[in-house]
């Protein structure tokens, strides 16, 4: 399978836990370290003993059959759910007891499987909302329209257009987010997440509903985002061309448990993974 070349490509190296990160990220605090992470819903274990380390500029993939618990992992990492067990370290900080908002301020941003845009607001406002915590003026300054309001809003406006231009969307800044076509909505969610100035970007099925040429473009853009912003990206995706094409490390989840980790080549030849996806061959 063809891999999209990125200037940051480097081999994976083992970490103290059973994880791997790219060699170039060694010596820097990993952006994410999840240890023995688990959550139960009313006695039912949705995710158990999830361990993962992500390097500072790594593109990681999280794959697995439907219902494996992939989105639940994202919800745990962003504290939509508080984990029942285990720890999540972001940038070396323990996120125990933190809320979604606090984890976001630490540098974790995400997109959603079922798109969640601010549908009645303009594209530009959606991006500006991503930049909410970078825009520094308060309620009174906004109401009184003090000079800081004009200055900060101008900076925000320019920055928003700049971010939108990654996906060539600066021309539709005026449009209502809810009126965009599906693919553009997915891209806008990524831009909005980038607006929060993250160090780890979580993409939940970014290519869902896209045609092959849109997907190819998305792959290039994901690499471009990583290279430009020097951030880590973790994505959930069912499109194996995308996953195998751009991810450096891949983690496979089944029934809430990690069943395999490794490079795309290792994962593709792993019998356990093949079994999870295709089912066990009947013993004759």
């Amino acid at each position: 399978m063809a891999r999209i070349k990125s200037k940051n490509d480097s081999p994976l190296v083992p970490m103290p836990s059973d994880s791997f990160i790219p060699q170039r990220d060694l010596g820097k605090t990993p952006v994410l370290e999840a240890k023995h992470l688990g959550i139960d819903f009313g006695g039912l274990t949705a995710v158990d003993d999830f361990n993962l380390t992500i390097g500072r500029t790594e593109i990681a993939g999280l794959i697995g059959p439907n219902g494996a618990g992939k989105t639940t992992v994202f919800n745990l990492l962003t504290k939509v759910y508080q984990p029942t067990r285990g720890t999540i370290m972001v940038d070396g900080y323990d996120t125990k007891g933190m809320s979604t908002v606090q984890v976001n301020k630490l540098g974790v941003a995400r997109t959603f499987q079922n798109i969640r845009l601010f549908n009645n607001l303009s594209v530009e406002d959606n991006v500006k909302l991503g930049m909410h915590n970078q825009i520094k003026y308060g309620m009174a300054e906004g109401i009184l329209r003090l000079p800081s309001y004009w200055k900060q809003e101008r900076i925000a406006h320019e920055r928003a257009l700049e971010l939108l231009s990654i996906f060539d969307m600066d021309g539709m800044a005026e449009a209502k987010a809810g009126s965009l076509p599906y693919g553009a909505q997915r891209r806008l969610e990524i831009v909005r997440a980038l607006g929060t100035n993250p160090s780890l970007l979580l993409l939940d099925e970014p290519a869902a509903g896209m045609n092959p040429s849109e997907t190819a473009e998305l792959m290039e853009n994901i690499i471009k985002i990583r290279d430009t912003f020097q951030i880590a990206i973790m994505l959930i995706e069912h499109d194996m061309n995308l996953v195998m094409g751009i991810c450096e490390g891949i983690c496979v989840l089944n029934f809430g448990k990690v069943i395999a980790k490794g490079t795309p080549d290792e994962i593709q030849s792993n019998p356990v993974v093949i079994e999870a996806y295709l089912g066990k061959k009947k013993e004759a």
Binding site: N120, L121, S122, I135, A193
Partner: protein
């Protein structure tokens, strides 16, 4: 960059049209009033209309812009009305200037309503949808009953307040001196209030409310509030503090309602707390919904028309409230039923007002 200038124009044009519309309406009405060309009942309605416009515009902040249903807005109006009346009446000798006293009363009303809004908002804004609606309704009723139990008087030593929870206390329990005056007599409400409210003050209050709300909506905080309305979970994911912005919208809305209440209270020499019951909250909600959620312009028009309408229907006498009810139902059906909508669109080609959506 061409786009940018067009955008600035589009939103500012709507805002400025609103301001200019209100200024023009004020100038016209004020001239007509001074020329004596208005009917007595319409002149008497001018200040209440201003109050209801501010009520509608401020409730629109909670219901249209924040997206949370509140059925207790009149409660905040009530808090503002009675605190404003007490402030204005007790300062009667200290501050002889009526406009200044009125301004202070409005500020006091706004502050007390904001405090009430904070006390109500912190616990209840965690609830969602219809549950929030019923709890705000409950708070409105509680505020009404609490004010019904208040007996307040003033003399040279300051304010005297008695809380008459058991119905056994009376004005005599205030312990006022000879020079003292009773301001609020429990269930009989505020009596003998000096009516210092003016149409000009009402106009200024409307303008202030518009500046606060329109500028808020176009600022960082206002965006965050609208983001909560559109998608709370996404808003949290980009680091927006849900409680902070919900409370900001709710308290701002309560404060403006308080100022409106103070103006209303100082327009009548007698005022009872039951005036601000559930039905008043509903009335204001009707203005907001008919005017269009998030549509500030619409709230102003709806508040004005629907305050005048029952008066205008006076010719129909006993039937006027019945007609009002039928009109209300028909308008809701006409604006929300798909078939009726297309039918009406064919009959009256009206361009819908622009919503405040940034």
């Amino acid at each position: 960059m061409k786009l940018k200038s067009r955008k600035l124009k589009k939103t500012t044009v709507i805002d400025f049209a609103t301001y200019i519309g209100v200024v023009l309406a004020f100038i016209i009405m004020n001239t007509l009033k001074n020329q004596g060309m208005l009917t007595r009942s319409l002149t008497g309605q001018l200040i209440p209309i201003c109050c209801y416009i501010v009520m509608a515009v401020s409730l629109n902040l909670t219901v249209g812009i924040l997206g949370e249903l509140s059925l207790g807005h009149a409660g905040f109006m009530s808090v503002g009305a009675f605190s404003g009346v007490v402030a204005a009446m007790s300062l009667q000798t200290v501050i002889p200037s009526e406009p200044l006293r009125l301004a202070i009363a409005l500020v006091v009303g706004a502050i007390f309503a904001a405090i009430a809004g904070t006390l109500v908002g912190i616990p209840v804004l965690r609830l969602r949808g219809d549950y929030l609606a019923i709890v705000t309704l409950a708070f409105g009723e509680i505020i009404k009953e609490l004010i019904n139990c208040l007996i307040i008087g003033v003399d040279e030593t300051g304010l005297h307040i008695v809380f008459n929870a058991t119905g056994t206390k009376s004005v005599n329990d205030l312990g006022l001196s000879e020079a003292g005056r009773v301001l609020i007599k429990g269930a009989q409400g505020a009596t003998g209030t000096q009516t210092i409210a003016s149409f000009t003050a009402g106009f200024i209050l409307i303008m202030i409310s518009l500046v606060v709300i329109l500028n808020l909506v176009r600022s960082r905080s206002g965006r965050a509030i609208m983001a909560l309305r559109d998608n709370r979970i996404a808003a949290e994911s980009v680091g927006i503090n849900v409680t902070k912005y919900k409370l900001m919208a709710f308290v701002t809305s309560a404060a403006l309602a308080g100022a409106a209440g103070a103006l209303y209270g100082l327009n009548f020499s007698n005022l009872v707390a039951t005036k601000f019951d559930f039905n008043t909250s509903i009335l204001v909600l009707v203005f907001v919904v008919l005017g269009g959620l998030g549509n500030i312009w619409g709230s102003i028009i709806a508040a004005t028309v629907l305050t005048i309408l029952p008066e205008a229907l006076r010719g129909f006498d006993d039937y006027r409230m019945l007609i009002y009810a039928i009109v209300l139902i028909l308008v809701m059906l006409a604006t929300n039923n798909p078939q009726m909508k297309t039918l009406f669109a064919k009959l009256i080609p009206v361009r819908r007002g622009e919503k405040v959506n940034g």
